[in-house]
């Protein structure tokens, strides 16, 4: 949950003391009032530019991000970058609060779902003005455009990601199953879940009923969408009832995780049934899947998401996340420099690998492809298996969707704890969703 770590909090450098005891009070006062006495008695830390950079992710991403930031600081001695991160849910709430209070971090990691709201709310800086230091020439124009609102470049995509079914390779084999191939269907998936449960004694995977993302893929596999082009709901209560009936039956059979575990999901891999050793698979985005490596000692593999019964793919490539700069940042140029470094620097790219998805900078993608190691290579290869076989991504979801993700989970809780039928919960959800999108 709210795992928020601040690497180093900036503190006034303590002066070398005169006579220790006499100096104690004076020093405290000095620190309070001036906050700037350096070792030589005159130097000031105030000359340094301090940037705040926040993002969401797991410890693996944290280690690599920190290494890249250290390199950035080494290259720019005058800039001090404070990083902090949290799990997605906690991050989302904290950032919204900061932004509303006019205290948005200088550089922030953003999700597809946040761009519209943050840009239209005036929180983000138009990056076009930072062209000299932030180079976007090497970006796929299509992906770059996903960071635009009303023609202005408010954010730059950091990587390309797609959903995947992550599975415990050993358990999968123990159940006598073949690695899933592109084009396998939701019925194939359900059969596999049952088989794993029967053969290994643990559920086949996380109950995907709580996940709006999984529902979207299922829906797209039937040629529908979460939202229409007019930004209204693209499905009916019947559709949602069918989805929840499907997952609820699997849950009752023990083929997917029980309600007690599903309810603990909070966007971190540590709290998923797969991460806790209580299921054999999980549906997630490919970049954070690296976090399972530390949790599943027997090894994991990535499989494409199931398709519709007629083979229609529901899965799609989406910009995995973005970087944006606060509109009221005191150091827009240095901030843009940091963004540029994270996206365009060769050495940074080597450190970061695919931890935020496969890079969108084309020459960097080619450069690092050969050198990708371990799980980064797994992600790269996985994306290659679905390349060219997916339908184009939907347009960015309307801003109310951010709250609806949570509502979706809550309403499904009522189904998995058997307090409502799938039909009742689906109708509840539709009522709430319509109210949310209207306002």
């Amino acid at each position: 949950m709210p795992r928020i770590r601040t690497r180093k909090s900036w503190e006034p450098r303590a002066a070398k003391s005169w006579k220790p005891r006499a100096a104690a009070t004076a020093l405290a006062l000095c620190g309070l009032l001036t906050g700037c006495l350096g070792p030589d008695g005159s130097g000031s830390v105030g000359g340094d530019v301090v940037l705040r950079y926040t993002w969401w992710g797991n410890p693996d991403r944290a280690a690599r991000t920190q290494a890249a930031v250290d390199l950035f600081e080494k290259r720019h001695p005058g800039i001090d970058v404070q990083t902090s991160f949290a799990g997605y849910e906690a991050y989302k709430q904290k950032l919204a609060t900061q932004a509303a209070g006019g205290d948005a971090p200088d550089v922030m990691q953003l999700d597809y779902r946040m761009i519209d709201q943050y840009a239209s709310g005036g929180v983000l800086l138009d990056l076009a003005g930072q062209q000299p230091v932030l180079d976007t020439a090497e970006f796929e124009p299509g992906l770059l455009a996903t960071g635009k609102v009303d023609g202005k470049q408010y954010a730059v995509p950091q990587g390309r990601g797609t959903e995947t079914m992550v599975y415990d390779t050993e358990k999968w084999q123990a159940a006598g199953l073949e690695p899933p191939r592109v084009g396998w269907t939701w019925s194939d998936w359900a059969d596999a879940m049952r088989k794993v449960a029967a053969e290994t004694g643990v559920p086949g995977g996380t109950d995907p009923g709580q996940s709006e993302d999984a529902f979207e893929i299922w829906l797209r596999g039937q040629g529908r969408a979460l939202y229409t082009d007019e930004r209204e709901l693209g499905f009916t209560a019947d559709d949602l009832t069918r989805w929840w009936t499907f997952t609820d039956e699997l849950r009752r059979e023990g083929a997917v995780s029980p309600a007690e575990q599903t309810t603990q999901l909070d966007g971190t891999v540590e709290n998923t049934p797969l991460g806790r050793g209580k299921a054999a698979s999980d549906v997630n985005w490919d970049a954070p899947a690296s976090g399972y490596l530390a949790l599943v000692p027997t090894g994991i593999s990535l499989a494409p998401m199931p398709a519709g019964e007629d083979g229609t793919p529901g899965q799609y490539f989406k910009p995995s996340m973005f970087m944006g700069v606060a509109a009221d940042s005191e150091h827009p140029e240095e901030s843009a420099r940091l963004v540029d470094f994270m996206l365009n620097d060769d050495e940074a790219a080597k450190i970061l690998g695919a931890t935020r998805g496969i890079p969108v900078n084309e020459s960097i993608r080619e450069d690092i492809a050969a050198g990708l190691k371990d799980f980064d290579k797994t992600i790269y290869d996985y994306q290659a298996t679905v390349e060219g076989k997916l339908d184009p991504p939907p347009q960015a979801p309307p801003s109310g969707d951010s709250a609806l993700q949570t509502t979706f989970q809550r309403d499904y809780d009522q189904v998995s704890y058997e307090r409502m039928s799938p039909r009742e919960a689906a109708e509840n959800y539709l009522t709430e969703a319509k109210a949310e999108l209207r306002s």
């Binding site: 709201q117 943050y118 239209s120 005036g122 309600a259 709290n271 709250a403 509840n428």
Partner: protein
């Protein structure tokens, strides 16, 4: 400041006059100087935000765009169109009714046990008070979650599965966390118990009253103002419970909305769904509700709270 340079004649006058108005004024001035940090704080950090929140409660405000006036819509929506709102009200009431009496009973029981203890009283008093110091913190709530989670301590010992993952039990787990923090009311009870004159007990004993009789006829009435004080304080606190439920349910009020306390839903509306106007309206309703409950408690207290001073009248 100015008073230090008062002319000699005036100073002499002031000393000479028995009612001394200038010095009183000086004292008032000093009082204001010492009060000013608090007054400033109250205005800037309490009154102003309250006024803003009252205004916001009549608007639609998503944190990012300017607030839009919607009149009473937030209030009508809350009462007529939002089943989750009513669920949060019921959950909170249920919690108050379970947690507060349990906590006070335990506090009184331990206070009684400690009252006559000769040795080690200081140690036990500190030991029982410690949870109250730690209580409001996120870390304790997270530890609680680990203990009551499936695969946690309680699960291993009792084999009942995780409490925080079961809708019927999660509320009880949160209530237990509150009950466990009975240190503050306990200390107040202890102080109250020591005020009761020992002769009353001696006299009762001479008359052959049993321990239970003495408790009911002496301890409870003599302690009733303290019981009342604790009841009001803990009730007000219980209505605002937030941290434990937030930590235990990862901010969602789960499982299946079973720990969706009023404040948690308020937070959810404000900071997750970005409906600050609605959240503000909820906050004002909570304020009025707590005010009403406190007023009711005061009203009923006339019939059961006994103040020693009444005796003299």
């Amino acid at each position: 400041m100015t008073t230090t340079h008062v002319p000699a004649t005036a100073r002499g006058k002031a000393v000479a006059r028995p009612d001394r108005p200038p010095r009183r004024r000086r004292r008032e001035g000093a009082a204001w100087v010492f009060l000013s940090p608090w007054v400033l704080g109250a205005c800037v950090l309490t009154l102003l935000p309250m006024a803003v929140s009252l205004y916001l409660s009549f608007t639609d405000y998503d944190l990012f765009n300017a607030p839009r006036w919607v009149g009473l819509r937030n209030y009508t929506q809350m009462f007529t169109e939002d089943p989750r709102y009513w669920r949060s009200v019921l959950t909170t009431l249920l919690y108050v009714v379970i947690a507060v009496p349990l906590q006070l009973a335990l506090a009184l029981l331990v206070a009684l046990a400690l009252k006559n203890m000769k040795r080690g009283r200081g140690f036990y008093r500190s030991a029982f008070y410690a949870p109250s110091l730690l209580g409001a913190s996120m870390s304790i709530a997270l530890v609680w979650r680990a203990i009551f989670n499936d695969g946690g301590t309680v699960d291993n010992l009792l084999g009942t599965g995780g409490w925080v993952n079961r809708p019927g039990w999660a509320l009880l787990a949160v209530a237990l966390l509150t009950v466990w923090q009975f240190g503050a009311p306990m200390v107040i009870f202890l102080a109250g118990l020591q005020q009761i004159p020992g002769e009353l007990y001696e006299a009762a004993e001479v008359d052959g009253a049993s321990a239970w009789r003495r408790f009911l006829s002496i301890t409870v009435p003599m302690l009733s103002p303290v019981i009342f004080f604790n009841l009001v304080l803990q009730t007000i606190q219980a209505f605002q419970v937030f941290t434990p439920a937030f930590a235990i349910s990862a901010g969602k009020g789960g499982p299946a909305d079973s720990t969706l306390f009023y404040t948690l839903y308020l937070y959810d509306r404000g900071f997750v769904a970005s409906h600050m106007g609605y959240a503000s309206a909820m906050a004002w309703v909570l304020l009025l509700a707590i005010g009403a409950v406190t007023a009711i408690l005061f009203r009923t207290s006339r019939s059961w709270v006994f103040y020693a001073s009444e005796e003299d009248r």
